[in-house]
Point group: C2
Chain length 236, copies 2
């Protein structure tokens, strides 16, 4: 089982995720997530793994499952969106069945904190080029901006690629007005959440790192009081 | 509070959503959703509303909140994705504070049932032209396909627009190979879930209606045993 814990603390888990962890004989995951659930994993076999090393984590999980154990691989957000679901299915190669338990993804969590920016068609793009050619990412940024999508950026900046977000912003400015609202949420729905609503031309003044989700509005997005809003088009 | 119940039954609710409903004095929602939570709403004021009429539902909720009540507007999925969050913020107009509690959206739910189709950048597009010009939707379908996004279609077909899905498929075929995997999930994560993995050229042979979510792969998406998989690009 590949289990999504949602964006935040215990109250972002679904009942189904809790049940999956309770039923598992082995729980595999990054230390940070295991530390959220000490009561649920007490007495179980545990495989705590470092942040990278997804392939090794998947191999361990699949080996344990192939040996007859019920295994839960836990991660934050939705494991089906840039998460562990894919690599587990690849490594399993049909030897063991894989069940994905979805969670609330970062796009939903950041949007909820900002108001309602995703009432309309949107594109989700990761700026990490660790596993994707940068040219592919650039093409997608162009197409999403040309299509007037609301655009959600995952992994907007890391030490290894500090300037990708600048390039992404410049592409946006070819198609979107400088005053387009941009929402920036760090640690969405966690205790230390930081939330800023700014504009496309000023967004780079805000601190953006790997724990941040960036939502860039479409041509209809506006600021409504404290909220970022992409109206759906109702006649009021 | 605008509260997302997730895609399915009680086990798709987050703890935060349950708490919000428990704390509310008034619960507003479509009959179907209120019927899922009889124990949670017992003794509370309720406003059950028909499927359409979102504006009227929002007005009632805001009036009650302005009168000092704690109100929870409940809906399935994530209220921040094509849901009630936007219209509530619009109607509230700053008179009452609005808090959005996110839920697992249909894209995540359908993806989990199919395997791991959303491991890579994706676009979410609604084919409903009730509130969006059809030309805008066509443009977005073109751009998303040209950008080699995985594409998630919400509201793929209704009685009023039975052929939009055919047009969408034809646009996809301009950019994507006929053998591109397509996942079709009806009633994702509910008791009567139906799940099909087919190809772009044959997808119209499958029954598609308003309760269906359609996920069209990118150029890397493949079928891996029983699963639809868009690999992330790990070296195995």
């Amino acid at each position: 089982m590949v289990v999504g814990l949602g964006p935040g603390n215990r109250d972002s888990f679904t009942a189904e995720a809790l049940t999956a962890i309770r039923e598992a004989q082995v729980v595999v995951g990054y230390h940070t997530y295991l530390n959220l659930i000490p009561d649920l994993i007490e007495g179980k076999e545990m495989v705590a793994t470092p942040m990278r090393g997804e392939v090794e984590r998947a191999r361990q999980a699949v080996e344990l499952a192939a040996a007859g154990k019920t295994v839960a691989v836990v991660s934050s957000g939705d494991p089906g969106i840039y998460g562990m679901a894919g690599i587990i299915i690849e490594v399993a190669g049909g030897r063991v069945p894989v069940k994905v338990i979805p969670g609330v993804t970062a796009a939903s969590a950041a949007a909820a904190s900002l108001g309602a920016p995703l009432m309309h068609d949107f594109a989700v793009i990761s700026l990490s080029d660790l596993l994707t050619p940068w040219e592919t990412i650039l093409k997608r940024l162009e197409m999403a901006a040309a299509g007037d999508f609301v655009i959600v950026l995952y992994n907007p900046r890391s030490h290894g690629r500090p300037n990708h977000i600048n390039t992404a912003r410049d592409i946006m400015l070819k198609y979107k007005a400088p005053a387009t609202p941009v929402g920036i949420v760090r640690q969405a729905r966690r205790g230390q959440e930081e939330r800023t609503i700014t504009t496309l031309d000023r967004m780079l003044d805000v601190e953006i790192d790997m724990l941040t989700t960036v939502i860039i509005g479409n041509s209809q997005t506006r600021v409504a009081g404290k909220y970022m809003l992409t109206p759906r088009g109702y006649h009021l």
